[in-house]
């Protein structure tokens, strides 16, 4: 059969498209869209959620994300510095911390902080019950960010430290004025990624329980689903998550491209 190679390739591609469209058509046509819309796309229910789904739920999700990100950055930096320390016990502690909280499901850690900590120490953290859960999220974020920050610090050329020390700068000053600023710049893309992951992980805070004013998106949607006996609010929550995460992942891609160019 004397068919030319390019012709054969073209035919193959057309066959793929046809198959793809066929599968899509079967799925779309076989679904009961009226029933689906009745359970998941009710405009009247959707309208009732405003403005609380934005002013309370989305706002809390963003606030919790920023708090756990900033907290995680501080904890992560301290852990990264301890892990790189020449003092053995610091290193061991940081290693144990990182292994422990990266190895546990975030949900369990949040649960532990929300219920075990108050019982063990008899303290109530501010903004209970969500405050304690948030502390758990900070601890988890810190463990993940510690490794990213450590990699960033180690990516700064050794000559930078040598130049700084040669000018009489102490190890501490060298770290804060020379190494960390450069290391943090290198890890902006992975840190932004971490932010996106944290945004989604705030949904785990539901395990800590909530009051009306501390509901984040997922808790809000779950509760609304119960009260309305309808899944519309879950769909709304999903769309609100995407509204934040998709632009952010675009930002990460942009930053990575810019970093690649400046090398």
């Amino acid at each position: 059969m004397a068919m030319r190679r390019t012709t054969r390739r073209k035919l193959g591609r057309v066959a793929m498209y046809v198959l793809f469209v066929a599968v899509l058509a079967v799925v779309v046509l076989s679904a009961d869209w009226d029933r689906f819309a009745q359970y998941f796309l009710r405009w009247d229910i959707a309208r009732e959620q405003f403005p609380q789904i934005i002013t309370v739920a989305l706002r809390n999700t963003l606030v919790f994300t920023v708090v756990s990100f900033v907290g995680g950055l501080v904890v992560g930096t301290v852990m990264a510095l301890m892990k790189l320390s020449s003092i053995g016990p610091y290193r061991w502690f940081a290693t144990a911390y990182i292994e422990l909280f990266r190895g546990l499901p975030a949900l369990l850690t949040i649960f532990a902080f929300a219920y075990m900590l108050p019982i063990a120490f008899g303290v109530r953290l501010p903004f209970a019950p969500v405050g304690a859960g948030l502390l758990g999220l900070v601890v988890v974020a810190g463990a993940y960010m510690a490794e990213v920050i450590r990699a960033g610090i180690q990516a700064v050329p050794k000559g930078q430290t040598e130049a700084s020390r040669s000018l009489g700068m102490s190890p501490m000053k060298t770290m804060f004025f020379v190494v960390l600023p450069q290391g943090l710049r290198i890890i902006i893309p992975p840190l932004t990624n971490e932010f996106v992951l944290l945004l989604k992980d705030t949904s785990l805070l539901f395990i800590a329980g909530s009051t009306i004013i501390t509901k984040e998106l997922t808790t809000f949607a779950r509760d609304a689903t119960t009260t309305t006996s309808n899944g519309t609010v879950l769909v709304m929550a999903a769309m609100l998550y995407l509204l934040v995460t998709i632009p952010l992942t675009r930002v990460v891609a942009y930053l990575e491209r810019r970093m690649a160019r400046s090398r």
């Binding site: 020390r165 040669s166 009489g168 700068m169 000053k173």
Partner: protein, 257 residues
């Protein structure tokens, strides 16, 4: 500088040589890089160190400001034993300027920022004073118009001159140069050597690890040839280059000249 009162015996002495190295040894693991170096650099002297790669000349230079920790031996800087645990190494280092082969400018700061950082954070100078000192030194290296630039936007030769100005801004008593022109394109070497020549003429104490034989001959007061962790020859540069006494020096010079 108005430092704290320091214990006696660790203050610099004006009458002591700038650098005095006595029986210096340095090993990396099993590998002995310096096998007993002794030499003295007088104040105002320009000493060039040459030798094949791996001869230990960079390690020797880096030992003087303790970027390398010697295995044994003594290093006196202006009469201060810098290996004495009582001595504040950071303070010693402010008096010793260091220029690297790879420049090592801080890429996240402007030229001016590079020159001011340690002045403000170590010497405690105010911003205005630091900037004034920085500008004087930038003018000296011929880069007064580039104070706002970032290192990435400068040529290698310009970066190295900024690095020299950065060291000078600490008002050091002596300068160490670790192959300062080896990473430069040939046409950029001249500007850097010119700056170094000016410094030498002003009486700066300098120790220069280099491959630039012309510079060593014309600017150096002394030339040291190192091989295999030892000082093989030490004398007047013109003498050593024209009439090397040791076979190893002769072999090396016949290859590079």
């Amino acid at each position: 500088m108005t430092g704290d009162p320091t214990p006696s015996g660790i203050e610099p002495r004006a009458d002591a040589p700038a650098i005095e190295i006595i029986d210096l040894h340095k090993s990396f693991g099993d590998h002995e890089v310096l096998k007993g170096i002794s030499l003295t650099v007088q104040t105002g002297e320009v000493v060039c160190v040459i030798g094949p790669s791996g001869s230990g000349k960079s390690t020797l230079l880096r030992s003087v400001n303790l970027l390398e920790e010697p295995t044994s031996g003594t290093i006196l800087v202006e009469g201060v034993d810098i290996l004495d645990p009582e001595v504040d190494v950071d303070r010693i280092r402010t008096r010793i300027g260091m220029v690297f082969q790879q420049f090592n400018l801080f890429p996240h700061m402007t030229v001016l920022g590079n020159l001011c950082l340690a002045q403000q954070r170590v010497l405690g100078r105010g911003r205005k004073e630091a900037e004034q000192v920085a500008r004087e030194n930038l003018a000296k290296v011929g880069l007064a118009d580039r104070e706002g630039a970032y290192p990435a936007h400068l040529s290698g030769g310009q970066q190295q001159r900024v690095a020299i100005a950065r060291s000078l801004s600490m008002n050091p008593d002596m300068m160490l140069f670790d192959e300062p022109t080896s990473a430069l394109d040939p046409e950029l070497v001249g500007d850097v050597l010119e700056v170094m020549r000016t410094l030498a003429n002003e009486g700066m104490t300098m120790m220069v690890v280099t491959h630039e034989m012309g510079f060593a001959r014309e600017v150096g007061d002394r030339l040291i040839f190192m091989d295999d962790g030892l000082v093989v020859e030490d004398g007047d540069p013109r003498e050593v280059l024209a009439n090397p006494q040791e076979p190893r020096t002769q072999a090396f010079l016949s290859k590079v000249l």
